[in-house]
Symmetry: C2
Subunit: 298 residues, 2 copies
DNA sequence: GTGTTAGATTCAGAGATACTGAAATAATAG
DNA sequence: CTATTATTTCAGTATCTCTGAATCTAACAC
């Protein structure tokens, strides 16, 4: 929290600095005024106001055409710099507005980034090369925190059981969750399923799993936890317990684990989350469209 | 003559950028408004206007206190830079105004820089270390050209016979001009003086000399010319002719030349010249004072 | 829950500011 | 000297920006 200082700065405007630049770049003020699209009168008054605010005389009259004082070159340099910087800023803002440029900080859970929306993200990246896309892969809870904390602009996560404050969700797609057991332990009734290796207790997916297992009449005693699906699969292969996961190609046959039944025990709802009441962000909007859109996933 | 481009830039004001900086540097807008010395209302409206001109939303409301969007850091960076540059400019302008800094391009004839005002110039230089003093030594005619052409700010020269357009002269001091002859040619009546070695025909001093010699009843046939007094003296010593010069210590005795009579044949008027109607220049004013002032010389 | 308080915004009006167009001034060209 | 053109000054209008009051909202106390 820096003290800004009590001496009030002169309230120079970009327009006045443009006037100065134009006046020095054109032989006559009439020409300068014409390119600026104002009357010579406006130019005269604007430059007079600038002189008043800087507190120094900037021009010297030589006959008919006024010339910049050599002492005023400092002011002219300042004017050129500020005008150029403002022009850059205006260009940048225009790009931001049109969505053709900008920064989007996207967060997704692993399955979305690696599997379901990998192609959509890749396509967006190549279709919008000017958009600086930052991808964070994390569990849904962390994503949600990042979103409300302002560290992320857009997330794809598992719909939380309790609606979060200040976050707007849009449904994206549903993903079936199947029960997997170590090979050789299949075909038991649900009441004898388990014990379980699954996601940590703060996991949204775990809440969905718990609810699904309860509906199926299965117990839910957890003996091991991990956020990584691959770790869970390995634990199952090692015979530590059962798990519930989305189906993965090539996981079902001869790999030490198999689906306990063909129907999923639950579905997790994948949603796109945005901060509620956040100002329009064209780049993030464009990305959200391809993430939600029906033809977006493969 | 660069084309400034037809897209009109947003007319951002330094004040609006200050608002932005203050708003991000203070936890609450009330505090920011207080340090700026305006009401919170003004701050709100000013920031809203800034958003409108940039064309992008800059803030995001989190509960009670609004926070800068991360996308707006570009704008904030711009604001900080411009505010800092403007503060520098204001400081520089204040120094210029007070005369404690600045650039003064002084032009004098040789005798003034080397002899009559050498001490005054040296003292000014050490008393005003922040003033960047450029000294040009040249004949009066060149000095006058430089002054009206804008290459010099202040000159000390021989008063021209015809008042120059657009130049304001202030009397500085008078300098006697004596007739010097080669040793052994003294004590002739003026009608037999000469021939002469003297300044070139465009010299102001030569005009004064010509007039003085005419008054004394002496002829004025010139056989050699130079702008440098030392060259003229050497020519006299070599017996090429007579000359008229200001007295120089140590020149009178046993050096091959001597004064033809004790009274000066003319006086040249040294004046300080400024461009007429030139805007106030405190640094040049201060220097002019010590050059003119009665206690200024050695 | 409700009430209170402080921060932030909105609104209306006063004052400052910046523009246009007309008139006046100054300087160059014929 | 006159005509022409560049520039400035002036008056009036439109816009902008401020203050102060009212309103709204979120956080806090009870």
């Amino acid at each position: 929290m820096l003290e800004t200082g009590l001496q009030s700065l002169p309230n120079l405007t970009v327009q006045q600095l443009e006037y100065l630049v134009a006046a020095t770049d054109h032989p006559t003020r009439a020409a300068a005024a014409a390119t600026l699209g104002v009357t010579p009168s406006a130019l005269t008054q604007g430059l007079a106001e600038l002189e008043r605010r800087v507190g120094l005389p900037l021009f010297e009259r030589h006959g008919r055409h006024t010339e910049l004082r050599h002492q005023a070159t400092e002011v002219l340099t300042h004017a050129r710099r500020v005008v150029a910087e403002t022009r850059d800023l205006a260009r940048w803002a225009a790009a931001q507005r049109s969505g053709s440029a900008g920064v989007v900080r996207l967060g997704t859970i692993d399955a979305v980034a690696v599997q379901h929306r990998a192609e959509a993200i890749r396509a967006f990246h190549s279709n919008h090369p000017e958009v600086d896309l930052h991808l964070t892969v994390a569990p849904s809870g962390s994503l949600l925190e990042g979103l409300v904390g302002g560290d992320l602009d857009l997330i794809v996560c598992v719909e939380p059981v309790r609606a979060s404050e200040g976050v707007a969700f849009t449904h994206c797609f549903d993903e079936p969750l199947h029960v997997y057991a170590p090979e050789g332990e299949l075909r038991r009734p649900p009441s004898q399923w388990g014990p379980w290796v699954t996601f940590p207790s703060d996991s949204h997916t775990r809440a969905v799993i718990a609810s699904g297992l309860a509906n199926a009449g299965a117990p839910f005693d957890v003996v091991a936890e991990s956020n990584q699906p691959e770790v869970l699969r390995e634990m199952v292969r090692l015979g530590l317990g059962w798990t519930v996961l989305p189906p993965v190609a090539g996981t079902t046959a001869g790999s030490g684990m198999a689906a306990a039944r063909s129907e999923p025990v639950a579905h997790r709802h994948l949603v796109v989350g945005r901060r509620e009441g956040s100002p329009p962000d064209p780049a993030a909007d464009a990305l959200a469209v391809v993430l939600i859109g029906p033809g977006a996933g493969r």
